[in-house]
Symmetry: C2
Amino acid sequence: MQSAIRFHPPSYDIRVETIPTPRISDPDDAIVKVKYAGLCGSDLHAYRGHEIVDQVHTCGHEFIGEIVELGSAFGKAIDGRAPLYSTLKVGDKVVSPFTTNCGECAFCRAGVTCRCIHSKLFGCPALEGAQAQYVRVPKAGGTLYSLSDPALSQKYSSWANISDSSLLFLGDILPTGLFAALQAIHHPKLQATLSGIPWPLHMDTSPSVRTESPKDITLTFAIVGLGPVGLCAMIALADQASLKGFKLRIVGVDLNEARRQKAERVYATVCQTEGYTDAGISFVTYDGEAAKSAVSEYTEGAGCDAVLEIVGHDSALNLAYDLVRPFGVISSVGVHSERPFPLSGGNLYDKNVSMDFGRCPARAMLPIALDLLVKRQDVFAGVGTDASLVDRIVGMGDAVEMYKLFDKGDIGKVLFQPWE
Amino acid sequence: MQSAIRFHPPSYDIRVETIPTPRISDPDDAIVKVKYAGLCGSDLHAYRGHEIVDQVHTCGHEFIGEIVELGSAFGKAIDGRAPLYSTLKVGDKVVSPFTTNCGECAFCRAGVTCRCIHSKLFGCPALEGAQAQYVRVPKAGGTLYSLSDPALSQKYSSWANISDSSLLFLGDILPTGLFAALQAIHHPKLQATLSGIPWPLHMDTSPSVRTESPKDITLTFAIVGLGPVGLCAMIALADQASLKGFKLRIVGVDLNEARRQKAERVYATVCQTEGYTDAGISFVTYDGEAAKSAVSEYTEGAGCDAVLEIVGHDSALNLAYDLVRPFGVISSVGVHSERPFPLSGGNLYDKNVSMDFGRCPARAMLPIALDLLVKRQDVFAGVGTDASLVDRIVGMGDAVEMYKLFDKGDIGKVLFQPWE
């Protein structure tokens, strides 16, 4: 038996219960002993009753831990199978993306692992979650990422000092924020601006011209939603600006003042680093008017080059539309519902808006997210400090209270330590 | 006085009338004597009463002709002004994009000329159209494209033989079809597929790797709407496949059988050219089911890499959504209305769909559209032949009849010759 944080429908009912320890039920399964499990904004969809869930289940889709049992598919090198089936061992440290993926289907091979034909989301009736002492991982050879791979300590000189609590961010938050940022930056509409070559000629110019350092280019972004994913998106944007050499203005938007202040502190830490741009960042309220006037002022009335929409509400999409410039990009990673879309085709036509929607392919993003995580231990490693992304690490006994505080926006990122 | 084809609200009322000849009313104006003016699908929005227009006006936004009068801004080289202000002369042959643009504002300089702050659409109450003997062109130094530029006969060895009726396609149809195709092909989601490198690694790979010829890559496109713009999109896709070396499957979708047959004949001509791929093309009915099953068969159930939506109706957007693969792209150049959007945020999230909306920046596209036009005289130059994009060239006396036939889909591209 084990302890687990369980959701009881229809809403606001979290209980810590003793339930059977999960077992291998398929040859591709692994059982992971959980060291840390995260509490994430999308856990609140079921908690608030916004997402209709008719079954009691263990919550959570972010975790890091240790392999304690492997199915019979492991230990054999078979052509076409995901490499971990031949290399993963009991005792290895692993992190998991928030959805399972086989690593073998056409979608996985193309790197769009969030659309794997075997994909399941942890922490739903369809798959028990990770806020527990043990979690069963289906398609584990494709899903898991081994942190015991010796190549990592060769690649990262600081590997031994990377904190386990920071590595949990690889499961969802950091890849998703990075995805939102990269999706926008690599859109042809922003690539035109970055190249300094007028649209559409930038598309057919030789690579040597296209990759010139765009030193005098300033991109203006808005991030709508300054929870942990929004902060990771901000960190990713700053990193991209430093790598690619463009200037960067970010307007962060959130209704919650504590979140805005946290974001300012995180940015202040991040932008101290040598090589990062010294472009300003400003935070304005989510209710729209203040953000709109700030953006208008920064961009001489044009609007943001791109808006990262990390909320998943109609109001956030409407605000993103109002903030984006004509011929701009909305990169939306917010989880949207089946409500009617708040914008018309005419709205989108009239402004030449591009929109990229959907779930981050977290498993495919994991290696590049890890690069950023190692580089930015200043904000990922700490716990409860001014500029740390983790607010608290608690035992499961605090789960009911933590869900309440997190729901109200009174606390940031919380990690559960199921063995304390 | 002059003859002009005029629309009388509220709907289905076209009259050929004698009205005053336009005059220079601003220093930046030019007066063009029209040689050919096109009848375009978007002329039907007002004609059918779908677009509320409360004023009699001259129709048409596609034209080619000769400069007969220039405003006082011309003939002077002034820093920051569009180059044509210093070079354009009375007697020069010109073609115009369907909207005016100054060539000087930030949007114009960035190549997104459709979002020029001075932009006006020809053939609306706000700006008299081109289905007339003369048309006034505001911001003419930014808007017009000179076909009398000696550089053109140096660039194109066949320049003297390029037909004037084909050059009219530069005004709207060809840039818009090319725009729909390029917007999709250059989207990061398709670039990942084309590079053969899994997402997201393709974004950070060095250009030398990224630009390898993707010989074994097949992209599957759907084109929803096989009018003249859809045909130009098809021609542009085939050209891109030949230039970039990928294989191409196109599923063309239209309710109208005559349009489907025309598209097949045009494709048969286009794909005969040396260097073009020999990938198949198939045409299925617009009502959806047949197109869906064809796409499903071609792609092993996955869906199209991209769908070009060239209709502007909810049903076309719904079909595009159904046809596109997870992590695919919808490139929409159809003119959409203010009706509620037919898809939910949840739909878009669940399939990781990207959508690029809006009007083609025709003036910025004009030079690369001209490259394609010169290359593809086999389909652009003819009139009324099996594989020609122009169905008929008529005098203005046939205007009422032509609008009727075009509205019913009984005729393809019609050009008016206002002096016959």
